[in-house]
């Protein structure tokens, strides 16, 4: 089993603050995906990173894949209340199509 650990598990911040969520593993992944899940819904893909060292930006969200393809981070600049949700990272292993999820980071952005 390829384990993905996310930190922090919970984060409560004020609107306008910056934050970073981490996703770490001792295993190498062929790609890593970040999802956001709202209550009562399934997770929805935000981004996929494939190349070691890759950085992708999605408006105020910046995603980075570690050089060794074992870890990733999600940085949110000037958080808004609409960013509130559960953020999940998921890694695709080298041995096939299996997608392994981290434990998630529950973000609460207060007005």
């Amino acid at each position: 089993t390829q384990l993905l650990e996310q930190s922090p598990q919970f984060l409560s911040i004020q609107e306008g603050e910056n934050l970073t969520v981490y996703c770490n593993s001792s295993s190498v992944f062929s790609s890593l995906q970040w999802y956001r899940q709202e209550p009562g819904e399934g997770p929805v893909l935000l981004v996929t990173v494939v190349t070691g060292g890759e950085v992708k930006k999605l408006k105020r969200l910046t995603f980075q894949f570690g050089d060794a393809r074992k870890d990733s981070s999600l940085h949110i600049t000037a958080a808004q209340t609409g960013d509130t949700g559960l953020y999940l990272c998921a890694g695709e292993g080298n041995a096939g199509n299996m997608l392994t999820f981290g434990g998630g980071t529950r973000l609460m952005v207060k007005p």
Partner: protein, 111 residues
């Protein structure tokens, strides 16, 4: 739009009952997954299938079985439901190496 449909949003079953959770996708995806989601534990993979009649155990297959007789349908079976199987169950589908699309989830309560 890709659609992944789970047969029930909410389900209440008695201990010892045989439970079927159905999932259908309409995008001809070869991969289909069943996860359960519990607070603090993230999404844990129960089973996944990469082709018709093909299945692979995930991290927590005990107490569950699956069936994939047709490409679009992936069923999760609880042979004899127990209270510790009370959870949110999420089905997903994907093409190899691509994002996973999730259903809205089935919240199962075993009493």
């Amino acid at each position: 739009d890709v659609k992944v449909t789970q047969s029930s949003r909410y389900l209440v079953k008695r201990t010892g009952e045989k439970v079927f959770l159905e999932c259908v996708q309409d995008m001809d995806h070869e991969n289909m997954f069943w996860y359960r989601q519990d607070p603090g534990l993230g999404l844990r993979l129960i089973y996944f299938s990469y082709d018709v009649k093909m299945k692979e155990k995930g991290d927590i297959p005990e107490g569950y079985s699956v069936s994939r007789e047709k490409k679009e349908r992936f069923s999760l079976i609880l042979e004899s439901a127990s209270t510790n199987q009370t959870s949110m169950y999420l089905c997903a589908s994907s093409l190899a190496g691509r994002e996973a699309f999730f259903g809205q989830g089935t919240r199962l309560t075993v009493v």
